[in-house]
């Protein structure tokens, strides 16, 4: 993560071509894992922001999203250039769904439904007025970043996504190991079906060794996710509060006065796991949940306002205690807790003299 960011000439030319083309663009970036998709997306966003006032970003990578915590699918609208591409930062998305796992494989159908809904939302919001009247400034291009899908379930999802969205630009990043790349050309199109024109840009990954082999930037996915979660819950405290280490944050969270909500005022849904009703609170305690609003119009698609830690449950007083950085006025709308498989970083649970009961020292190493 700390490594220097390299933007090859090929990449910046491509970004310029996309940004200064004539049509309102919808650009989808795809390619194998660790090939530099995110870096290219970030660069493209910055180039676009020089021309357009706002740029939308649809994040479909639930494992390593750009502006949110893992487990979320989101549409974010940016209006400022990010000068330092090395520092990932969290932003509050325009619209967001809680998927609740770090891989789309857990529930491909729901995953696709959410992505289509986010795309439709973008269309509704930013593509309603006719093309002629819109000036450059008013138009909002869309960048879509994808996980490293090249085969299997992920590939099928990618094809469906490309078909539904039909982007104006598809940026394929290729690595030297040819069989790990996506098929050439417009691989998602079936012959004989009329589709809007699309330009496919095939770019080589940025890092190469002396034999011109791709160097993949290996990331510790788990560490990345933990850091994301930690950074997210850091927002529970004002930025001027002196919290510089994870240990200090864990301490602060243990002492932080949580929100309380009556058990009868909130619904609880387990997304990926069948939990007997009698075990609900056992399941929820000390886990990360999505804070969602179950709206009248789309019952199956509650949008998510953020994450919370169920830090305690008092079944006698019938209240849940939740820690979240979501501000109170937004929180008031939340009437649904969604539990997925987002693991709470264990570093937040071990505070000296205040260790969570879910951290145990006597676990057999065999499992």
């Amino acid at each position: 993560m700390a490594e220097e960011i390299i933007i090859p000439e090929e990449w910046s030319n491509a970004a310029d071509t996309i940004a200064y083309g004539s049509t309102t663009m919808v650009a989808l970036v795809c390619g194998p894992k660790n090939s530099g998709k995110t870096t290219f997306s970030r660069h493209l966003l910055n180039v676009l922001l020089q021309r357009y006032k706002k740029v939308a970003y649809l994040d479909t990578d639930v494992g390593q999203p750009e502006f949110t915590t893992p487990g979320l699918l989101s549409l974010t609208v940016l209006d400022k250039v990010t000068p330092d591409l090395t520092i990932p930062c969290l932003k509050t998305p325009e619209r967001c769904f809680f998927f609740g796992d770090t891989s789309s494989k857990r529930d491909p159908t729901t995953y696709m439904t959410y992505i289509f809904a986010l795309y439709d939302y973008y269309r509704k919001l930013y593509c309603q007025f006719s093309k002629s009247e819109s000036s450059d400034v008013a138009r909002v291009p869309l960048v879509i970043n994808t996980p490293g899908w090249v085969k299997g379930v992920g590939y099928d999802i990618l094809v469906d996504m490309l078909k539904y969205i039909s982007p104006t630009h598809v940026i394929k990043i290729c690595i030297s190991a040819a069989r790990k790349n996506l098929p050439a050309g417009t691989f998602w199109l079936t012959d004989g079906v009329d589709t809007p024109p699309v330009s496919v840009l095939e770019l080589n990954s940025a890092r190469r060794d002396s034999y011109n082999r791709s160097l993949l930037v290996q990331k510790d996915a788990r560490l990345f996710r933990d850091l994301r979660m930690i950074a997210y819950f850091r927002q529970c405290f004002p930025s001027n509060k002196n919290i510089t280490t994870i240990k200090e944050l864990a301490h602060a969270l243990a002492a932080h006065p949580p929100y309380e909500i009556s058990i009868s005022d909130i619904k609880i849904k387990h997304l990926h796991c069948q939990v007997p009703k009698s075990e609900t609170f056992y399941s929820l305690n000390a886990t990360i949940v999505g804070l969602a609003v179950s709206t009248e119009d789309c019952k199956d698609m509650p949008h998510c306002l953020g994450l919370g830690i169920v830090r305690g449950i008092d079944t006698f007083s019938h209240v849940l205690y939740v820690i979240t950085p979501v501000p109170l006025h937004n929180l008031e709308k939340v009437d649904l807790l969604l539990q997925g498989f987002l693991e709470i970083p264990s570093s937040l649970l071990q505070v000296q003299g205040c260790k969570s009961p879910y951290m145990s020292g006597d676990v057999l190493p065999v499992n």
């Binding site: 993560m1 700390a2 520092i87 930062c89 932003k91 850091l227 950074a231 850091r234 927002q235 280490t245 994870i246 240990k247 944050l249 969270l253 243990a254 002492a255 932080h256 006065p257 949580p258 929100y259 309380e260 909500i261 009556s262 058990i263 009868s264 387990h270 939990v275 007997p276 009698s278 075990e279 056992y282 399941s283 000390a286 886990t287 830690i309 305690g312 008092d314 079944t315 006698f316 007083s317 008031e332 498989f341 987002l342 693991e343 709470i344 937040l348 649970l349 071990q350 205040c354 969570s356 009961p357 879910y358 951290m359 145990s360 020292g361 006597d362 676990v363 057999l364 065999v366 499992n367």
Partner: protein, 623 residues
């Protein structure tokens, strides 16, 4: 709301952690169970012969899966047992009314076994250096399981008799590979925990011996005494250092050691654990000296110890309720805990200065709130069905200098003693007629007590009257007060270590609506669960308890009640109830033999939900 990380990404592992803590912190692992007790419950229930217990364990494991960090051995064990529950062969059902076809059953078994082999073996073998079979051999995994995996994935589906046999082998292997070693490992404790515990124990013993030396050398030279004083100071410091890093562990160990020597403390009524290790601090006198010494430097120690004892007590009590078979050792330990609590309280009494002329001079000063919390917990624990802690509660009330409170507690305890006596009488006496008349008398007695209470209660009560609020109700709010406690626990007034929550679903969660007669019946049933053999007795217990709670909740005088006609206090709030519902309630109460008239009922603050909640949310009702 943009936000940079604000955290040092380069050094995520936080090098600022110091020495010993680093090793401790790194070796802790996230587990889906809240305590090893929970784990043990699952282990015992999974392998029990009772269908309902096995089902309960399977439900619990399903919940563990949802928490995401379940060990694969646990996962697979539960899967196999769940499949066997669906298999008529293992359920000893003769008729062929199988829910699953044999084909389906083979498929389920094969999949579970495949997951076992792959899940366990794959983790132990490095890439492809050795074959699955070799790796399986290394951990003594039966060859049959490997074969089932192979057949199932590459060839014909293995036959049902084969996979049934394999499932038994798998369970045996899982027991010996995971369940038993894991159990003995936490009983002994892992290295880290053991080391920490060892160190705590050792430092405590050092302190004890240095105190002993001091006592024996009192007559000898000044120099020697000075020297031993130094030793004591050092020993105290050592213990306190450990205390500050893990207060609950230290407290737990002290309590464990105390329980071991409980006979010499004059605590134990029944011989329990009479063998004690040679090194242990033997006499109660020594222990008293140690605790006094430590308390001078660390006033929180005594409250922490009290809390640990109380928690242990409550856990054991709760355990009595839901764990099936109760052995004598446990109830014996409950007695010991109650006595130990008294003993500790006695020390506290010595340290805590007496109120002298209203203005106490305090070197050692525990806030009343702390005492009150202890008292509160005592009374709550008593509501679990016995009064062992009542004397201690009285002592606490006296220490707080609150004689009115002590008075009330005394009455309360008398009331419940009566209630118990009655139940005992009944269980020994099968003649229901005389029982009911005795019962009626006692309820009348209670009603009179209640009236007496009402008239003597001060007028400063604050009754919460919940009408339709004018403002839109806010669902979310920041808690009024909070105390640091571990995530997953609830704050405790004393110390930072928090208390474990009770997470069982309260069946009456939805019953914030106006209640009716049938609800009461349900409650009677849920109480009955405790001791299923004595149905009738328990019903009466609950009705009596209700009276008891009624008195306990008495916080308002007649004039306040006047405005509340047509209301019932439910879960600490006054709720409007219609005439019909009141009728229903009153007739429901008649079932238990007391002809109450309606006006009384409407004034009766029938606490329709678990009484202990009220105590928790309204400490004002005592003071």
């Amino acid at each position: 709301m943009d936000s940079h990380l604000g955290l040092n990404i380069q050094a995520p592992l936080d090098p600022s952690m110091e020495g010993v803590d680093l090793t401790i912190q790194q070796s802790f692992k996230l587990v889906p169970w809240m305590s090893w007790d929970e784990w043990c419950f699952v282990k015992d229930a999974l392998f029990s012969s009772s269908f309902s217990e096995v089902s309960a364990a399977i439900r619990r494991v399903a919940m563990w899966r949802s928490r995401g960090c379940i060990p694969v051995a646990v996962d697979v064990t539960a899967s196999i047992i769940e499949i066997r529950q669906k298999d008529p062969f293992f359920r000893n059902v003769i008729d062929g009314n199988a829910e699953q076809s044999e084909e389906m059953l083979s498929m389920l078994y094969s999949m579970a076994i495949m997951r076992l082999v792959n899940g366990v073996v794959e983790r132990t073998r490095k890439k492809n250096e050795i074959s699955i079979a070799e790796a399986a051999d290394a951990i003594d995994l039966p060859r049959m399981l490997i074969d089932v995996r192979h057949e199932g994935s590459h060839r014909e589906l293995p036959s049902l008799p084969l996979v049934r046999l394999a499932s038994s082998k798998a369970l045996d292997w899982l027991k010996s590979y995971y369940w038993q070693p894991q159990k003995s490992s936490f009983f002994v404790g892992s290295d880290v925990t053991t080391n920490l515990r060892k160190e705590i124990k050792q430092k405590l013993l050092e302190l004890a011996s240095s105190l002993n030396v001091n006592r024996s050398t009192q007559s000898s030279s000044l120099l020697k005494r000075k020297h031993s004083k130094k030793d004591i100071a050092k020993a105290v410091k050592n213990v306190l250092r450990l205390y500050s890093s893990d207060s609950s562990e230290v407290a737990t160990i002290v309590i464990e050691m105390l329980l071991k020597v409980s006979e010499s403390l004059g605590l134990s009524k029944v011989g329990y654990n009479s063998e004690s290790e040679g090194n242990d601090v033997q006499s109660g006198h020594d222990w008293k000296a140690i605790i006094l010494k430590l308390s001078c430097k660390e006033p929180e120690l005594l409250p922490t110890l009290l809390r640990v004892v109380l928690n242990k007590y409550v856990i054991q009590k709760n355990g009595e309720e839901y764990l099936s078979s109760q052995n004598i050792a446990q109830s014996c330990q409950i007695d010991q805990l109650a006595c130990l609590f008294e003993w500790l309280l006695d020390i506290l009494k010595h340290v805590q200065p007496k109120m002298s002329g209203g203005k106490p001079e305090r070197s050692f000063n525990l806030p009343d709130a702390t005492l009150f919390e202890c008292l509160h917990k005592c009374v709550m624990a008593s509501s679990l069905g016995d009064n062992q802690l009542f004397p201690s509660a009285l002592v606490l009330a006296e220490m707080m200098g609150n004689s009115a409170l002590a008075d009330k507690l005394l009455k309360l305890s008398l009331l419940s003693v009566n209630a118990e006596a009655d139940i005992e009488e009944f269980s020994s006496n099968s003649d229901s007629g005389s029982f009911f008349s005795a019962q009626e008398d006692s309820i009348h007695q209670a009603t009179e007590d209640f009236e007496l209470f009402k008239s003597s209660c001060p007028r400063n009560s604050n009754v919460k009257l919940r009408e339709n609020p004018v403002e839109p109700k806010r669902r979310w709010k920041v808690v009024n007060s909070w105390k640091q406690c571990p995530i997953g626990m609830l704050p405790h007034a004393i110390g930072f270590s928090g208390r474990l929550p009770v997470l069982d679903i309260n069946d009456d969660t939805e019953e914030t609506e106006t209640p009716n007669g049938s609800d009461q019946d349900e409650r009677g049933q849920s109480r009955r669960k405790r001791e299923p053999e004595h149905d009738v007795a328990i019903i009466d217990d609950s009705s009596l308890k209700r009276m008891r709670e009624t008195t306990w909740n008495c916080e308002s005088d007649n004039s306040t009640l006047e405005g509340l006609t047509g209301h019932l206090m439910i879960d600490g709030f006054w709720k409007k109830v219609s005439e019909d519902e009141l009728n229903a309630i009153s007739s429901a109460i008649k079932v238990w033999g007391l002809p109450l008239n309606l006006p009384t009922v409407s004034h009766l603050q029938a606490p329709l939900r678990c009484s202990s909640t009220k105590g928790a949310s309204q400490p004002t009702s005592v003071g």
